[in-house]
């Protein structure tokens, strides 16, 4: 049985459908990420689950308990906010003990639970600090432990790392994944950062305009995007527009208007359909002169002209011209290829996704 089930949730704000007929099952113990750009409805979904927004229609189940009409305080769902939402007039200990006191637990039990929760986030000895005496990362960890100390059925994290600086953010990603593994709590994680989602998630639901565009493991979403939106959102992607000329098992041969012929993976595609071929920078391989002799006649090998090259540390970020198209590619920094040079590239057909329009 799924730990959390959303059934055909709809929520409108005025004429805008923030959530549009969305159904989702979150499995026991998994960490599922709602990923999407701002305004895609992911926060509204989270607020429906936490109980601060009542959906216009649809039902929400925690295991087999229907909670659609139940107020937030009676749902037993833990919540971590983007801006931490620690109560400034309380110490760390009081922040954590607040929910336990409502449950009328004994003083000694509260102390024991708070200590254990603080140990989980490595903040022992910070009990008497006020939130403003803590760094951003520490405040975030207190917020996390405040939610965990109540041992909720489901934990919701609303862009918990977006207020931290880049370095700390990367570190906290692993920490959250670690804490999730230790506690085993079913978790929904909301973010607009695809790298973050890739690192921590068991499964990712990519959202756009209040609908789930694709649901799957990070690998599935990245390597087999269901459509152009998902492919574009999961990282820099070049799209070449064309028409399917031939279907060969799971491969589709696509010809573009200016006469390129590209083979890529595609499913549920018919011959003659208008499609986009998604090409990620890392699926483009530069051929050395020696290789060029062998590969020149093979499919998916193209001659390109370097239009722009910029160093970004360990890599060079290229813009390559193929006929009328400009595509982005990445190359090793130690082999410099100057602007204007013509070279051969090979595209790995297994890494190209052919997507319906």
């Amino acid at each position: 049985m799924p730990a959390l089930r959303l059934e055909r949730i709809v929520k409108r704000y005025g004429k805008v459908k923030a959530v549009d007929d969305l159904s989702l099952e979150v499995l026991e113990g998994e960490l599922l990420t709602l990923l999407g750009p701002s305004g895609c409805g992911k926060t509204t979904v989270l607020r429906c689950v936490s109980g601060f927004v009542r959906p216009d229609s649809g039902e929400i189940y925690l295991e087999d308990r229907k909670v659609t009409e139940i107020p937030p305080e009676k749902r037993g769902i833990g919540l971590v906010f983007q801006n931490y939402a620690l109560w400034p007039h309380m110490t760390v200990f009081q922040n954590l003990a607040f929910g336990l006191e409502i449950k009328k637990l004994s003083k000694s039990l509260i102390r024991e639970k708070v200590n254990r929760a603080l140990a989980l986030v490595q903040l022992e000895g910070f009990e008497d600090r006020f939130p403003r005496q803590l760094s951003g990362g520490q405040q975030q960890r207190v917020a996390l432990s405040r939610a965990l100390v109540l041992e909720p059925n489901v934990l919701l994290l609303d862009e918990p790392l977006s207020n931290l600086d880049a370095l700390l953010r990367e570190q906290m990603r692993f920490e959250i994944a670690q804490i999730h593994k230790q506690s085993g709590i079913t978790t929904i994680y909301v973010t607009h950062d695809q790298t973050e989602a890739m690192v921590i998630s068991d499964r990712i639901a990519v959202l756009d305009k209040g609908r789930i565009m694709q649901l799957g493991t990070p690998l599935e979403i990245y390597s087999k995007p269901a459509n152009k939106f998902v492919a574009g959102f999961m990282g820099t992607t070049n799209f070449l527009h064309g028409r399917v000329a031939k279907i060969d098992k799971e491969y589709a041969v696509v010809t573009t208007e200016d006469g390129l012929t590209i083979t890529g993976r595609g499913h549920d595609i018919e011959k003659g359909a208008e499609v986009d071929v998604a090409i990620r920078p890392e699926s483009i391989k530069f051929l050395s002169p020696a290789e060029a002799m062998d590969y020149a006649r093979e499919p998916n090998v193209f001659e390109v002209e370097v239009a722009r090259a910029s160093y970004v540390g360990e890599l060079i970020d290229y813009q390559l011209r193929i006929k009328s198209h400009l595509i982005r590619a990445k190359g090793e920094a130690r082999i410099a290829r100057g602007v204007g040079i013509r070279i051969l590239i090979k595209l790995d057909a297994d890494q190209l996704a052919v997507l319906c329009r």
Binding site: G76, W87, P88, H89, F98
Partner: protein, 275 residues
């Protein structure tokens, strides 16, 4: 010491002296007047000083020359009216301010504006009309009537400041409390109210001082039976500068005490975690 630093220091000292002259200066003349038995032109300072007027004001000595007014009852009347007014105003202002800040109330801005109305027009015509109504209700010339008038005048500070305070408390702090199992009421008393305390105190200071100082409304509704301290000041100042000064100083005391107290609490509250 570098030249620039000397210039800055001089400017600071000049500014300080000016501030003292402007704020403390007029008050000094009040203190001098209150102890001056005789002070005629062209003397810079009084020819004869003493506490005769203080003693009379405090009811320690009666003198036919001044009319034997003791201001002690007036002082305590003003103080108790102010305290009652603060309590009732805050009982109205806290729920009203919270509702106006946190819920989408129909005509919210209009309601806010209504509280401003008693202070937005010349007060005499308002209170003359009010006297007519209060007379029919039997409230004219009673302490009850005066308390009502003070609430009317003070409520704008009460409601406006409390609603601004509640609005400044981010709703995610309340939502966080709900998410750990606190109901709406529990959240209000344990999260919202403590966080709003500094603002609520500030607004009660305004209401308190407004009530203590209120003149026009008390003049129309209260006189001649309800003699608050400003009324006593008014009726005596026409005849006697020394007596008026004594009353003015006494009128300052509760305000200063209240302000000091509030400032203490405010600072503790901020140190406590508002930062």
């Amino acid at each position: 010491m570098p030249a620039k630093r000397i210039v800055v220091l001089t400017a600071e000292i000049v500014l300080l002296v000016l501030v003292f002259l402007i704020i403390i200066g007029p008050m000094m003349s009040l203190f001098i007047w209150s102890v001056a038995h005789r002070w005629y032109w062209p003397n810079t300072l009084p020819q004869e000083v003493g506490f005769e007027y203080w003693k009379q004001a405090l009811g320690l000595r009666t003198s036919l020359a001044i009319g034997a007014i003791s201001i002690i009852p007036a002082f305590f009347l003003s103080l108790s009216i102010a305290i009652v007014v603060v309590m009732i105003s805050m009982l109205i202002a806290i729920p009203a301010g919270y509702a106006l800040a946190k819920y989408r109330i129909p005509f919210g801005p209009f309601i806010m504006f209504l509280f401003l109305m008693p202070n937005a027009f010349p007060q005499q015509p308002i209170f003359v009309n009010l006297l007519y109504i209060f007379t029919r209700l039997g409230l004219a010339g009673t302490v009850k009537g005066v308390v009502l008038v003070h609430i009317l005048v003070g409520l704008v500070f009460g409601v406006w400041i409390t609603s601004a305070t509640f609005r400044s408390i981010p709703s995610y702090l309340e939502e966080a409390a709900r998410s750990v199992g606190a109901g709406k009421v529990y959240t209000f008393f344990h999260i919202t109210l403590p966080l709003a305390a500094p603002g609520l105190l500030a607004s009660s200071v305004f209401v308190f001082i407004t009530s203590l100082d209120e003149f026009t409304g008390t003049f129309f509704i209260g006189l001649p039976f309800v003699n608050t301290l400003p009324m006593t000041l008014y009726s005596s100042s026409g005849y006697n500068m020394q007596f008026a000064s004594v009353i003015a100083i006494i009128l300052l005391i509760p305000s200063i005490l209240f302000m000091t107290l509030v400032q203490r609490v405010l600072r503790a509250e901020y140190v406590g975690g508002m930062g």
